[in-house]
């Protein structure tokens, strides 16, 4: 009988869900309190908090990310920055401590409208390729697992498929290039 390697048992999605559940318990009440103080709604709090979780998770994936403060304090800092971005007129009302002031929101976090359009177009016509590319570049699945997950017989065919997907998405982007003004290099 083949024994599964432990790392095949826990998927990145399961790991993230577990992390997000923990953070909902430990970090959401504080963020919600802050948003309510700023006269925001529960919906605002959920929006800001979920964006903050995405940014926190992304930062935590970087090898250089060393968090000396608590996760909760860091997420609160991100949430404050997101609030300031959303409601610029509140800038003076939000006090940032030393840690919070040092936090940055990725420049590309709010995608250009054109990128959003492209993404929704591709989500309709090239979903499988987006899934495969996302699994390869972001979930960092090795080719062998990628092959298993997407039903390829060999690692080699998964590799070829990855390039075919890059080509397919690239060509969709090229087709749309004339419609989208910001296509420049």
């Amino acid at each position: 009988m083949e024994i599964m390697e432990p790392d095949t048992l826990v998927s990145p999605v399961m790991e993230r869900t577990k992390l997000f559940e923990e953070l909902y318990t430990t970090a959401f009440p504080g963020v919600a309190r802050f948003i309510s103080k700023m006269n925001g709604t529960l919906e605002d709090a959920a929006d800001i908090f979920q964006d903050a979780l995405v940014i926190f998770y992304e930062k935590s994936q970087h090898e250089a990310f060393d968090i000396s403060a608590s996760r909760e304090a860091y997420i609160m800092g991100i949430a404050k920055h997101l609030w300031i971005r959303k409601f610029a007129h509140d800038r003076k009302k939000v006090s940032l401590d030393h840690l919070e002031a040092s936090i940055t929101i990725p420049d590309d976090f709010y995608p250009a409208v054109n990128n959003e359009k492209l993404l929704s177009l591709l989500a309709r016509s090239g979903q499988k390729c987006l899934e495969l590319l996302q699994a390869f570049y972001y979930e960092k699945l090795p080719m062998k697992k990628l092959a298993g997950k997407f039903g390829f017989v060999t690692e080699r065919s998964a590799t070829v498929q990855k390039y075919k997907c890059l080509e397919k998405v690239r060509d969709t982007i090229k087709e749309k290039a004339f419609t989208y003004e910001d296509f420049t290099e």
Partner: protein, 88 residues
């Protein structure tokens, strides 16, 4: 692999800065003389941006699912109450 896919593999390594200095020079020279390759590389850069956006969207949806579960589960009634009170 067919030539067009080989060029993608090459462009990917060029963008990631993983080509040897010699190969990078050769590739840069091709970029100067082959407009189609230039266009393809520009579009490939955009592919990576789109995949990143897709990844973020997926994670955002996972976070939203945790939120829905948390606010619909009677086992978390005390937590829900604590939050609702903030927004009364």
């Amino acid at each position: 692999m067919r030539t067009s896919l080989n060029d993608i593999a090459l462009a990917e390594r060029y963008i990631a800065g993983k080509l040897s200095p010699e190969d990078a020079l050769v590739f840069q020279a091709r970029l100067l003389t082959e407009p189609l390759l230039r266009w393809n590389v520009a579009a490939l850069r955009k592919v990576y941006i789109v995949v990143k956006g897709y990844h973020r969207k997926k994670i955002r949806e996972e976070a939203a699912a945790v939120h829905r579960a948390r606010f619909n589960d009677p086992a978390h009634a005390a937590f829900q109450q604590q939050i609702y009170q903030l927004f009364q």
